[in-house]
Amino acid sequence: MNRSLVILLAALALGAAIFAGSYFTARHATVMCCAKPADDLDWLRTEFSLSDAEMARVRELHEGYLPKCAAMCAKIAAKKSELESVLGTGTNLTAEAQTKLKEIGELRAQCQAQMLQHFITVSQAMPPDQGQRYLAEMKRRTLGTNELMEQSMSGETGHEHHH
């Protein structure tokens, strides 16, 4: 093989190795350094540039909300297990099962309302522009998942039902 071509290929391989090595090392170091899974609120501080005072208020709201959220989740889980026991191994949807489904739906609605109220309260503890951004992001993240599913089922995204 031509000597110049060998030099060129070796230089390309060396260059790629230098870039890849520095890229993966820096990426790993940054993920290790910046990811703090111990604190759930770390994202809020960095994303919305909150001051210590704002952060303290948000933390207070967050800690007040968590037990309510956990209680609501426990209620939903209990109602779901009731539904499963009512459904059992039967092949018919009984009136009791329908009642359980309705109750689960109501609990979910209450839970979502409580969650949205928490987001609104937290957004008010932030500077106005950041608060609006936070609220929009939270709505998109939490309510958007159901909307996507409903849109796909109703055929708005191009999906069609075939009976």
Binding site: F19, A26, C33, C34, L66, F119
Partner: protein, 117 residues
């Protein structure tokens, strides 16, 4: 004595007969050389061969000059530094985005469990 007379006579003859612009003499000399006839399209063929030779040499020359450039220590160090810096910058940016996404997922998991969505 006789040799000296001969030489003087030759010198006299040369001065009288030699004329540099003698066209008849030039034509005679040209004819006496007996040049063969050129093949048809001789000039075009010559130029084509020159072009072909240059074309086959060009890529190798380009590769050689690039290899020579790569082997220059200053150039090699500069390129390696740029690649290293670009790798560090893009890796840091990507790592920061991954960390940001993870932190966001942690927050969402805390305030909006899957059951509530």
């Amino acid at each position: 004595m006789g040799g000296g007379q001969k030489s003087a006579a030759f010198q006299l003859m040369k001065e009288n007969n030699f004329q540099p612009d003698d066209s008849q003499l030039s034509a005679l000399l040209r004819e006496s050389r007996g040049m063969p006839a050129l093949p048809p399209r001789f000039q075009q063929n010559v130029w084509r061969r020159i072009e072909d030779a240059e074309a086959s040499v060009r890529p190798a020359a380009w590769l050689d000059s690039l290899a020579a450039l790569i082997l220059r220590p200053r150039f090699a160090v500069a390129v390696a530094s740029v690649l290293l810096l670009a790798g560090i910058l893009s890796g840091t940016l990507e790592g920061w985005q991954v960390a940001r996404h993870d932190a966001q997922v942690n927050y969402l998991a805390a305030v909006a469990p899957q059951a509530a969505r």
